[in-house]
């Protein structure tokens, strides 16, 4: 399953890299990519673990860049 999340207000490219790194390390995540320019976080999640992964990703994002929004697109 692919989850796409919009991080609105993401304004530091370094933080983007850190969030990407953090999300990649979460268990249940096969692949993650965060584009600083489009502010889209795309996570390839193992089936059935979508909710927990999205919650964990939300925490990672909040820790690194509390100013950015976190909106699950789908």
């Amino acid at each position: 399953m692919k989850k796409i999340i919009k991080l609105e207000g993401l304004c530091c490219a370094n933080c983007a890299a850190k969030i990407e790194e953090g999300v990649k390390k979460l268990s249940g995540v096969k692949e993650a990519s965060l584009s600083f320019m489009t502010q889209r976080l795309t996570i390839e999640v193992e089936d059935g673990r979508e909710d927990s992964v999205v919650e964990e990703a939300r925490k990672v994002a909040a820790r690194v860049e509390p100013e950015a929004g976190f909106r699950v697109l789908r």
Partner: protein, 621 residues
């Protein structure tokens, strides 16, 4: 400018004024201390706070922390002026970065402003404005001049011109009438159209394109990954060096703590890799934007990188190099006008629906009077025999292949064409001439191939399911390097694999097809390029690069955009790393002050971003 940016702007303006006041009054009064303090706070009071918060979360080496340590250190060795300047310029740089990134985001969004907001659904004669998502397949929608086509469909009533510029980069409007297909995302220019939808919004062209563009930057180029990795090691290394610089020399040389702490703080100022971390993705983003403005969609920055070092381009023949439509390409009468021979052929083929007959009739282009034809009969495997009236005389006309001529005891002196089919005509008086019907080479192809050569593409190859001779004829005409015929779709994959083994090291191979039946080959090549992306889902799905319209020369544009982007990325990497290292060395040796460090951080980052923005503009040369 966003509200956040405006507030920051005001803070920085205040800080700058206070800073000037402090510099002016420095030698005269104690006021300057206060001015410095407030200038510092106004510019960056939140930086130490953020640093504290991030340390709580376990992030030590973030830029807030580095700036805090650098400025506090400078204050500690009473370099007040520098401390404030560092903070002020750091924030100016951040504001500028923020603004530049936002602007590019916006300009690309505007570029891809093809998302329809609503659809006028016609239900029982009543029109209702609904979300495009709510429209079902088979519903009727109304599109007025100036509105975007919300869903793909077929025109039921009305005629108009459509502007497809945002989709294809092509500025010529497309004429549509009853029965024409319309593509979502194009803009209706003049007439009112009633359209029956053929797809749900999710499956429509516009949704597919938006999805593709939005996803594009998630596939990162090697240069981007390199920068991320570099950034991860760069900061800790510089910070460690700063620490060493602050402690070791004074211990060894005995004293001079102030000088060395000042230099160490300067190190910290240069330790942020922002210039690279922002400018590289920004460059790729701009390049992708420039490409989509020209009707070229790339599915990732990695393909941008790959396009820049293209070595071999493999083409599918039919539908890519040739039109895939059979047309009369040559008319060679023995006597008289070409038109007269075509007329005879059209008369003879009147009752036939064979593709060859159709192309003859199309080439003739005029209505044929059926009373001029008598007893047309098909001779399977040979051709047609018919009695035809011409100039009030009836003729026994034979149209067909060489075998038919032989049967009639005629040896035509026109050789049969290698490309396509030759129709011979004869009547009771003898041989009349020949008509060649063949697939024609697309108009844009020769210039596209010349352009590819000019861009340093070493090998141009053609694959075709057609007969080898046909393929060779096309290849010779176009000056291709290699051609392989009689290929089944599976053979194409193995041929591409073989070619992948032959290309020069470090360079790439692209396969160009129309997306029909060649999905496996598109996937196997380094870069799969699909032509005519509009309306062909298979192409959009399977390819890495989608050329929205039918122009192969867009491949040349893609290479140029890719090269420009890569050049700018390389310039930024070399420039930013170079300046930073230079500044570090000069600072360590004491030849440069903290002011140079400020340039090494903010100056470099601003210049790199300005350079990166250049990728957005591309003009065909």
């Amino acid at each position: 400018m966003t509200k956040k940016q405006r507030i920051m702007g005001i803070r920085l303006a205040v800080s700058a004024i206070l800073f000037l006041a402090a510099v002016v009054t420095e030698s005269k009064s104690a006021w300057s201390l206060l001015f410095y303090l407030f200038a510092y706070l106004s510019a960056g009071y939140d930086i130490p706070l953020k640093a504290l918060r991030n340390i709580r979360y376990g992030q030590v080496f973030d830029e807030n922390f580095l700036m805090t340590v650098a400025t506090f250190g400078a204050i500690a060795v009473s370099a007040l002026e520098e401390a404030v300047a560092v903070m002020l310029f750091y924030q100016v740089g951040e504001l500028f970065n923020d603004y530049a990134v936002n602007q590019s985001r916006k300009s690309i969004q505007d570029l891809m402003d093809i998302n329809p907001e609503y659809a006028n659904l016609l239900r029982d004669g009543v029109e209702e404005q609904v979300d495009p998502y709510e429209v079902e397949v088979g519903d009727t929608i109304v599109i007025r001049p100036g509105e975007k086509v919300p869903l793909d469909g077929v025109v039921l009533r009305g005629s108009s011109s459509l502007d497809t510029k945002a989709l294809t980069g092509e500025s010529m409007p497309v004429e549509v009438e009853v029965g024409s297909n319309v593509i979502s995302g194009s803009i209706n220019l003049n007439g009112v159209l009633e359209v029956q939808t053929t797809r749900l919004f999710d499956d429509s062209t516009v949704a597919k394109i938006l999805e593709l563009v939005e996803n594009a930057s998630s596939r990162k180029a090697k240069a981007e990954t390199f920068i991320t990795k570099f950034a991860r090691v760069y900061t800790p290394i510089v910070v460690t060096l700063a620490l060493v610089l602050a402690i070791l020399p004074p211990l060894i040389l005995g004293g001079g703590w102030g000088t060395w702490i000042y230099r160490a703080c300067s190190f910290l100022v240069v330790s942020c890799p922002c210039a690279l971390v922002i400018s590289v993705p920004l460059s790729f983003f701009g390049g992708l934007g420039a490409a989509s403005k020209n009707g070229i969609l790339l599915k990732g920055s990695n393909y941008m990188e790959a396009m820049a070092s293209l070595d071999t381009v493999v083409f599918d023949k039919t539908g890519t190099l040739t039109n895939g439509r059979f047309e009369v390409s040559d008319v060679a009468p023995v006597h008289g006008a070409r038109e007269a021979l075509l007329e005879l052929a059209a008369l003879g083929e009147y009752h036939s629906n064979h593709p060859i007959a159709l192309s003859v009739k199309k080439a003739y282009g005029k209505e044929v009077d059926p009373s001029r034809i008598d007893q047309a009969e098909e001779i399977p495997g040979y051709g047609i025999h018919a009695r035809i009236e011409k100039d009030h005389v009836w003729h026994e006309l034979y149209i067909g292949n060489r075998k038919l001529m032989k049967q009639q005891g005629i040896t035509p002196d026109t050789p049969s064409a290698i490309m396509g089919t030759t129709l011979y005509l004869a009547d009771e008086t003898g041989y009349l001439g020949a008509i060649v019907i063949s697939d024609s080479i697309r108009e844009d192809v020769p210039s596209a191939l010349a352009g590819l050569r000019q861009q340093g593409v070493r090998s141009l190859v053609m694959l075709t399911g057609d007969r080898e001779e046909v393929g060779r004829a096309v290849a010779d005409k176009l000056g291709l390097d290699q051609v392989f015929g009689n290929l089944l779709p599976g053979d194409k994959v193995s041929k591409v694999e073989a070619l992948l083994g032959q290309k020069s090291f470090g360079r790439t191979l692209a396969f160009v097809g129309d997306g029909i039946n060649d999905a496996p080959v598109l996937a196997r090549a380094d870069i799969g390029i699909a032509m005519g992306g509009i309306g062909s889902d298979a192409a959009v799905e399977a390819a890495d690069v989608v050329i929205m319209d039918d122009e192969p020369s867009k491949i040349v544009d893609t290479i140029q955009i890719a090269r420009k982007t890569m050049r700018i990325v390389q310039q930024n990497i070399v420039f930013a790393i170079g300046v930073k290292i230079l500044v570090l060395v000069l600072v360590a040796l004491g030849y440069a002050s903290m002011w140079a460090a400020v340039f090494g951080d903010v100056g470099v980052s601003v210049l790199a971003i300005l350079n990166a923005i250049r990728t957005l503009s591309y003009r065909r040369v």
